[in-house]
Symmetry: D2
Amino acid sequence: MLRYLSAGESHGKCLIVILEAMPAGLPLSIEFINQELKKRLSGYGRGPRSKGIEDDKIEFLSGVRKNVTLGSPIAMRIKNRDYKIDVLGEISKPRPGHADLAGALKYNQKDIRNILERSSARETAVRVAVGAVCKLFLNEFGVDILSHVVSIGGVEADTKDLAFSEIKKRADKSSLRCADKTAEKLMRREIDKIKGEKDTLGGTFEIMAKGVPAGIGSHVHYDRKLDGRLALALMSIQAIKGVEIGLGFDAAQRAGSDVHDEIYYQKTKGFYHKTNNAGGIEGGMSNGEPIVVRCAMKPIPTLMEPLASVDINSKKPFRAQVERSDTTAVPAAAIVAESAVSFELVKGYLDKFGGDSMDELKRNFKGYIGQIKKF
Amino acid sequence: MLRYLSAGESHGKCLIVILEAMPAGLPLSIEFINQELKKRLSGYGRGPRSKGIEDDKIEFLSGVRKNVTLGSPIAMRIKNRDYKIDVLGEISKPRPGHADLAGALKYNQKDIRNILERSSARETAVRVAVGAVCKLFLNEFGVDILSHVVSIGGVEADTKDLAFSEIKKRADKSSLRCADKTAEKLMRREIDKIKGEKDTLGGTFEIMAKGVPAGIGSHVHYDRKLDGRLALALMSIQAIKGVEIGLGFDAAQRAGSDVHDEIYYQKTKGFYHKTNNAGGIEGGMSNGEPIVVRCAMKPIPTLMEPLASVDINSKKPFRAQVERSDTTAVPAAAIVAESAVSFELVKGYLDKFGGDSMDELKRNFKGYIGQIKKF
Amino acid sequence: MLRYLSAGESHGKCLIVILEAMPAGLPLSIEFINQELKKRLSGYGRGPRSKGIEDDKIEFLSGVRKNVTLGSPIAMRIKNRDYKIDVLGEISKPRPGHADLAGALKYNQKDIRNILERSSARETAVRVAVGAVCKLFLNEFGVDILSHVVSIGGVEADTKDLAFSEIKKRADKSSLRCADKTAEKLMRREIDKIKGEKDTLGGTFEIMAKGVPAGIGSHVHYDRKLDGRLALALMSIQAIKGVEIGLGFDAAQRAGSDVHDEIYYQKTKGFYHKTNNAGGIEGGMSNGEPIVVRCAMKPIPTLMEPLASVDINSKKPFRAQVERSDTTAVPAAAIVAESAVSFELVKGYLDKFGGDSMDELKRNFKGYIGQIKKF
Amino acid sequence: MLRYLSAGESHGKCLIVILEAMPAGLPLSIEFINQELKKRLSGYGRGPRSKGIEDDKIEFLSGVRKNVTLGSPIAMRIKNRDYKIDVLGEISKPRPGHADLAGALKYNQKDIRNILERSSARETAVRVAVGAVCKLFLNEFGVDILSHVVSIGGVEADTKDLAFSEIKKRADKSSLRCADKTAEKLMRREIDKIKGEKDTLGGTFEIMAKGVPAGIGSHVHYDRKLDGRLALALMSIQAIKGVEIGLGFDAAQRAGSDVHDEIYYQKTKGFYHKTNNAGGIEGGMSNGEPIVVRCAMKPIPTLMEPLASVDINSKKPFRAQVERSDTTAVPAAAIVAESAVSFELVKGYLDKFGGDSMDELKRNFKGYIGQIKKF
């Protein structure tokens, strides 16, 4: 069963991750992984720190030889440019909207730095590295995946008439991962405005994965359902407060006849649907249509116009300090989410197809595709 | 680590669940558990089958002696009144919106009954039983939990001025678990109308848990975050397509200064917040405020006015058969969700407080409460 | 990932188990499972209770339809004939060699019955049921498995010149699962003698599994090694105090040249070994030779000539009470161990070959066998 | 739940491990950890490579600040001095007694280096680092742990009259971790002799842990039993072929009256035993007496006098190559095993006592000790 443990503090030496149970024989491209890392750092509305460390680079410490996976655990490291955790001073002022206070209470820490260094979204860099490896895997099975920003500060993108490939191309070119140029312009204006008000913005984004056959995940036990696993993977990303699949919350407003995807059949295609309101998941399993998931991100909780809080030592009120000053990080979160989805899909593939080598996995996969084609 | 496995088919002998790692010494009330089961079956808009089996009753098979937990695995059984799985005929017609087709392909089953018997929401009965045991546990630690229906078919309840206890009382009395009488009336009207159209409705509901101290869950690793775990638990419930915490998707529309909950302190109360936009969870941990989660449920996918589909044997199109005829099941899903949240909270308590007996757990809990009070 | 939870107390209503993740399409034979259960209860040297309940019978509660697995969780129940846990009196006298005292302290139970009802080896009945299902699975892949008693009370069986099938046949016929008739006679004499002395005996037994291809388990992470998993599965059986694989402890006494199995190749056979000192496992993986594991069982800790202990209430010394009066249970433990090994092997097969249906698994398996044949 | 993932190849850049869920506030000593690493590399009978890299040193990459744990994942790295995996040539000759052949078949690797680099016992260096951290934890709760070599090449040490502290002191001073000087001398002679014969030796060793209270582990489910968990942890160490607890295999030879530890009580001590044949574990739980476990290690499978094998490409027989030339590594394995036991004990402590900070854990622990004292 595919699994990983990540480690590292925001101003520690590095971020590190061990990814266990990837099959042997998968070619990896450091360039591709580094590109993905770069995407996480870019985006209009980021502050100077994000930009300063814009050259996050992965280093393989194990599990890979001559750029091909060995089947043994893959350790990846991203060095931190501003390693200074040991000399940084104590913090007694918890910031609203962060893990600061709850973490200090739980772990009995009077220096809040001991909490915020780990709770920081800096950790998501290695989630992106894991996701990049997973994308290379999925690519071998014809799966393509994208993320794009749907809304920022109330401005909504309109992508309903765009093909998958078009959304992907446009999002990758956009400074806000937004596939709707007009909306992007308005979003940037909104960001500039809110920045002037020393405030911050959240938004929503969408992940789509194309090429996943029916049968990933399972209906038989709650913790094996693909929708549940995706929800955990996404809701656990810093600042995510909502996850929806397919129509999501909108499905709750419609009549059943306007929601459920009817089933069709063509000899060449097999079974298919003309709509995808389910977002590609029915009964906890992929149904052959693209997986479509959307997330809501709250605004960045560190404002230049700070918020009321209380010093944990003196118990005196204060105005919360600014540790970081991005105005919005929605495009970055979209990349992290795309990575999280990629990981969960690979996990699902390995659960279904087993396999210790790519040769074996492809043989098993091909056998299954034949089975459902002839079904 | 608290865990459970559930088993059982919709028309099989029974539903069954084994709940492992509950501490010894917790008094259980069969009456309470049966009441919870009853709540799951009630609700305006249910069809005849739900009503016919309205007397779901739990039986303890193990783990309990003289109505007190032993610390050993708790097995619970709910008998099915209409056990007939072995005599029921084959099904070759997959219903849109169900696990039918994806499950048949995945498990290579030409008789779709072999899928739908397990994917059925009938399984949630034992999730409610598990949740009821968990509520009895949480009660010993001063945690109170509720669920209420927020919208059905576009009609929204207004509960923003109601206290926790008031919402709970009203929801328990309402035929739709709705705490707003006016809205309830309109919802019923909407249900009647859609039933006349042979269609179905979904909706949204909210779970609230009061009395959870700061520090349940953890920020240190993605799979230990309370929000992620809740998301998995909820998204894996049949027909749930969206989960949000606190402001949820609405947070994506607001400025940061309008979202983050400021921190205050009073000697008697300790740290607290005046708002709860975070829904009680920051950094993957409870922050001491009530946990607030909302879910979106899609309309029931079995319509009396059926949908287009294709026979898996003949490959001929047909109009999907009606297997069941509830018009809406939002109130039932709310109870299931309340149960799922209860389970995840107990898991979080045991992770944090350890303990094999209730005496030990309470001692550890009390020590922690003292720690954070003096912090 | 294959998993199970078991539940049930010794004098409770029943024993119950849920086995999750067995593929769909495996035919099950109730008769076979009941035969296995019967084997667990037989054996020379058992006391009256074991005999009285000699008719343990499995009932499927879920996961099976028309005697074929559905892919959904399989719940099995064995009713207890002497259900009386609720009326049995309190016990304050811990028996040496049992979980009694440690369990009472851990779970803070003043009535030791609350511990011993679960720690009892009665629980192993459902482990045998799980094992029987697993044997039916393994059988489909050409794996055969046996257990036989190697020593009781110092009397050693000599089976070194016997073929697998011969050991299996003889063990199944023997009153002590012993494949050496002469030794069996001496063992029975030893049992009679020790019974006369109101004492008890332990012994050793061996499990062998034939037909497992190279590559089950993995060398890449400690918790995926087949030898480690088998060791957990076996050491966790009541009264087992030692586990060894292949030569085991004897390997520690020999020179390397006398231990390691040399590698040979024949076109028809592929790679093979002429010796099997490794017991079929090298580097945490099966190596294509039969898996051979041996366990040591301590004597039954309940003696008719009782042992010194202390009442937990009065703190007064007493002589430990007799709860049960088998003289030896080594043949029964051998069956339980055979079942535990079967479960771990199936887990290993599913990890390697994936698969949700038997068709798919067989296709994947066949592909792999072809791969290693052509390697 | 405490967990770790390890990574790294024998001639890769480094070995790396992430240890997740250690509580905050545990002071760590790099010196202590490095001493433990040094112990793993020493021992009479080691070859030149082991000596050449005698200066394994740990580096903390995360989870620790100012030498105190943060509660976040602890990443530790040990650099490899002879990093050259990318330039090393292909290997087509599998060595008997290693993972080589089974691994090549399983992972479909024609270059056996891709297997042996990970299956190498070099990986145990990070298991020792994890164990060292765990020992520092256990030390805070008054637990002391030791390992000592019991036999090499048939020479048995006699330590039955030695106190725990005496065995520990002597083992730490001995070139073979042997607490019996006379036996040590004979063992060295045996090693010299076998080295002259170009052969290798295995042996047995014992782990003892003192100060563990009753109640670690659990009787309620097989996979929570302390003996089972220890067995997995130990059997998964390279070259270990047998594990026994307390009397172990010897218990299978004795009468019950000669095996089970009688129970006594003294006001100051509470419940105790005068013997420890159970090795401190009854019913899957610690019983308050020292934990005593023994392992059998097979001889090192790389002989200077090589063994018959077959080239995987040419299918021609050859004599297996020498990759490494220790004569025995029993003292090193003992240290690895001591580390593995330490990890499992800490896991057991966290399961029982919960706790996110050392303060909290100690408070909970103290409460429990009070409970069992007053029981």
